[in-house]
Amino acid sequence: MMAKSTEPASDYDIDDLRRRIRLILLLDAAESAGLTPLPILHLHTFAYMSNVLSPVWEVPVLEGKVLKRRGNPFYASLQYDLDRLVGIGVVLVSNVSHVLDEDQRWRLEGSYCLHRPFADRILQRIKAFEDEREIIHFIQELAYALSALSSEDLGRATTEDATYADPIIDVGNVVDFAEWENVNYSANAARHFERLLPSGARATQGEMLHLYVHHLYGRLQSV
């Protein structure tokens, strides 16, 4: 959680700040896992996974719903914040091009990484907050887990994700796992692994994330 300032900020400002912080944490974790520069849709997928799997680590969900698209999840607000971070020099973009997406609309394509001289100072401040350190820990482990997927598999990971790929939700509808609805198939599936280890041990939170991604990988291969 962010520290409260003396002057109460509006909810909009706080949410805005949280999203930008989340973006910086995602890109930092992606770099440690060898995933950078991260293509834009991979970044949105990673952001989605960090939302839907938050309950496994018992950290707050940042955005509990997302509009279901034909391809990957795409957060308009996150993209807006990302563009702003590029604008102020905290994030670098490379391989910029434009592509026709699954909905037959043109959009910019690019790959992102942190601009360390600016981002490191922000990260240092974020790490001073204990709650944020727990979120950092979660996002880092999730990045390690997702790094096991090939670039191609990461690009289509949500097509088999237990929540996003739920056939009951049609394209164009909202995938809601933590706003009005409280059923999160992805987190449930990850937790389902807890008592399945053949050694008789209980899976840790870290193991549950890795097992979830491993299972997702198996589904992607069988498609």
Partner: protein, 362 residues
Amino acid sequence: MSEGGTTKLGPWADDDFVGTVLAASAAGVDSDLPDEIRFMGGVAKLIRTRIAEAGDDTDPARPAVFLLEPTARTHRPDIAPKRAPMLDNALTAINGRLWFMSPVPVVGSYVELEDCDDDKLFRIVTDELQLGDVPAAIFDPRTAIPQLRLYRNGLGDPGTCEILRVDFVDVSLPRVFEIINRIYETGLVTPTAQEQAGKLWENDEKHWVAQDAELKVQLYLRMGLQGALLLCHVRSEEDIVSGRYDIAIMEVDPLDRSCARWHAILELKVLRTFGSRGGSYSDQDTRDRVESGVRQAASYRNEKGALAAALCCFDMRHENTGEECFSHVVDLADAHQVVLRTWFIYATCEQYREAIISSTEL
């Protein structure tokens, strides 16, 4: 999670979760440990699994070099490492390659290494790539018993090297105590030996012990034991039917995850004269803690089917009475086959120095 809990799996409801667990590595189990320990342990287990999976003569008889450098940062832009996802399934050849890895070796990027002498191998990393300062490991399949050489300071410091066998690990209690002795001597014995974030004393002058001293000791031990027993999994604080064990050391068969050997259960107790706010603990409190520790160690060992159990007491009381704290439980421990050990933690360096001098005078 509210209604339904984990039974609500949506489109995954009919999936084979057990099959996934049997095929997956134990990645993530060590997520609370430092990157370097995770990297070294991950590489050691990866090599052992690869040898078990492919035999020891499938891959070329050339060394494999692993660098804790996930982004393949390089001073040679002409080098384009090839990515190997799902590396932990051990289906990818390892030898004869230079690997760029994250702390969790579920993926790696590699470049092929030409057949070269060892000096050239080191120079590729230290001079050409200028990565001599990152933790590294070299698997050498050319020796009679294949070795993993660990360079925690990087290949730029070749003198600091630990050699590990990947075909065998000694997890007997004497070996475990030897490792704990080293952890004790380097990280626990005096206030100055302890890390700033891991101080065991609330107030060392007054002998007030930190409230979470037991948890801190557990973390010191877990890191030290995992760092030394890289082929094992050192687990902690797991809820089981008979309670919650402190530390368990286990080893999983590289080819069959359903075969696990639980080597040892360690029950930890911190003995105190004073609590963190100065409240005093009686001798009876201490005797009760020790007796409870013996019973816990025995029952956790029995439940997990572990080979051995030990009660490890970290004595932070006023006076060092050695093994006397166990005098009332010797028979009980014998009957339950629980091994007893104690380590005395000094409140001040002066007290420690005096103890060292006295022992040498004797």
